[in-house]
Point group: C2
Chain length 358, copies 2
């Protein structure tokens, strides 16, 4: 079958012909429909990942997928059912561990998991893959086209959940939110903040692009405000616009983690999702420390997501307007166009590889 | 009546003779028993505070108090009842505001409150004071001696509450805790972590003092481990001892806020309570940001406390062993010894001024 992988020693995606996987007892066989590409996939291609699957010199890419059940293989799934697979699996040395047993693989520490398509396990950019059913979240038949967005949305659902938990010891009624980054995850999160079920009334999205720009068009059509970081840096947002009850960082730019403290309103909370490399710089640590304390501010990091958050993401996806999804998905590629798919143009927002249709 | 105050232009405590306060309707008259001295009082004496009570050129000190109801004045309190007064009051321009109305003055932003004994309102270091009953937390008759500790304990109750809230979106079963600072608030918090009702099993307290030292004796008698920061800096604690599920910062040393990220275990949370001055220094912001994200770590600032947290503190105080309270309170001074009380020796831990006994 066709698979898009990165081979050892290479730093570009390659279309391979690999053998179809054979499901073990307790595993279903899935037929891949679509797999999205995100920043982590680019990192994996560039070689910034933790290791190839045991015994292989290539890593099949992709972790944002929607698939159809090809062979339930006694798992209780129904043939043809659409599903979204989760990313984390117990590490190869163990069958499971406490984090997986209680349904919280997203909270497992480094070493307790592999990640399909990212580190130590093959991803979903192949015509077929296998998985135990507990790592497959059923989605409606109508999700063939955009169901691959359930995975990135679930990461933000987790961040929202942790943000509200962090502020649950008092009455927190947030109104303003700032998304740092107008890349795919930033825009998707902004669209989530603009849904009817969101409590946020005024949303802002920070980027560094000139108009006309399709991401700025999306920001404004959503009803949000575009903040150009070249005019208003993150630590100037509170004064130029308003202090933010919630800041969601999706830039991976380390200074933003610290400037977030300044952007927050009293009692606000910042969620960090970017994964920067080492970078030493100066901060006014005394002032940041003091502001955190005197204004009861909070910061937390968030990675990955659990099945409950995938289910929330499935529901949230249904709330996103059609025009948004149409504008957001800017490229649909066939598997043999993988290299083009990974070379996104400046105007590209979200790129997806289509292996099959239902 | 006698009152210990700092006068405009002075930076030392002075015993004044001021007129007894006259309770307005809705206010009780309280007879002060004991008032503790903490770091904030020293800051106020040194002039680092926001302003004198309107119309006065002096600020009566003290916010850690226990008192007896002298005259209920129709408030429903009982004469002779022991109470602990809370610190924050609505700012002088307003009768109340939403934070006070919902019982969360601790979450009020700067400008929405004054603080008795700290900024804009007289404190409790006087023979009598007045207060509406909603700011008085009843305590048992046995609390005349140590009830003044309810206020500092309540600040840590709030920090504990916010820490558990911040980790309530998943199953968090913390075992290890590190208190940064072996001053009075650090030791008191360590004793709280060592009570039977605390889930923490292994507690550590960081300081920079040589043995023999009374605070180290207390740390070890509590069953905790002393960490000498000159041998093991905060960012070396995880390796030298163990990664910490909870870090409680009570040093006001800004670098500790950032090193806390390194001291934390995956999924851990750090509570910051110190109030440093501006101080610019270099951090590896990229690494700190990345560790927060990949290990789901959290940090938050916490200041002040609400009535519910005073009530929790009242219950917690009953759990602290007698030997601890005896060793912890190292000096009891009369009002006319105020200057000596504020000039604590190296061996002093907690100093209290006794105005009266029940």
């Amino acid at each position: 079958m066709k698979a898009i992988a990165v081979e050892r020693g290479s730093s570009r995606p390659t279309l391979l012909d690999v053998s179809e996987p054979d499901p073990d007892a307790g595993e279903a066989l899935l037929r891949t429909l679509r797999v999205g590409i995100d920043g982590t996939d680019h990192e994996v291609v560039r070689g910034n990942h933790g290791g190839y699957p045991v015994g292989d010199d290539y890593q099949i890419l992709g972790h944002e997928a929607v698939a159809a059940v090809e062979d339930p293989n006694g798992t209780g799934l129904e043939s043809g059912q659409l599903v979204v697979p989760t990313v984390r699996r117990p590490s190869t040395e163990t069958e499971s561990n406490e984090y997986f047993e209680r349904g919280e693989p997203d909270m497992a520490p480094d070493g307790a998991y592999v990640e399909r398509g990212i580190v130590g396990a093959h991803g979903y950019m192949s015509e077929f893959f296998v998985s135990p059913p507990e790592f497959l979240v059923p989605v409606p038949d109508s999700y063939a086209e955009h169901g691959f967005l359930v995975e990135p949305i679930s990461n933000s659902e987790k961040a929202f959940e942790h943000a509200f938990a962090a502020r649950s010891a008092f009455e927190w009624t947030p109104e303003s939110a700032l998304v740092l980054g107008n890349g795919p995850l930033g825009l998707l999160t902004l669209a989530m903040l603009e849904t009817d079920s969101s409590p946020f009334e005024r949303n802002y999205c920070l980027g560094r692009r000139d108009r006309p720009d399709p991401s700025i068009d999306i920001i404004e059509r959503l009803g949000s405000t575009y903040v150009d970081s070249r005019e208003t840096p993150v630590d100037g947002v509170a004064e130029a616009f308003e202090p933010m009850d919630f800041v969601y960082e999706a830039t991976g730019y380390a200074k933003h983690a610290f400037q977030t403290v300044d952007a927050l309103a009293p009692n606000g909370v910042g969620a960090l999702l970017g994964i920067p490399n080492d970078w030493a710089f100066e901060v006014d640590g005394g002032r940041l420390h003091r502001e955190l304390v005197l204004e009861n501010k909070a910061l937390f990091g968030s990675v990955n997501s659990n099945v409950g958050q995938y289910e929330a993401a499935r529901d949230r996806l249904a709330e996103l307007p059609d025009w948004f999804l149409d504008a957001f998905v800017t490229g649909v590629y066939a598997p043999d166009e993988a290299e083009s798919a990974f070379e996104a143009s400046d105007d590209a927002i979200k790129t997806v590889i289509e292996f099959d249709t239902p």
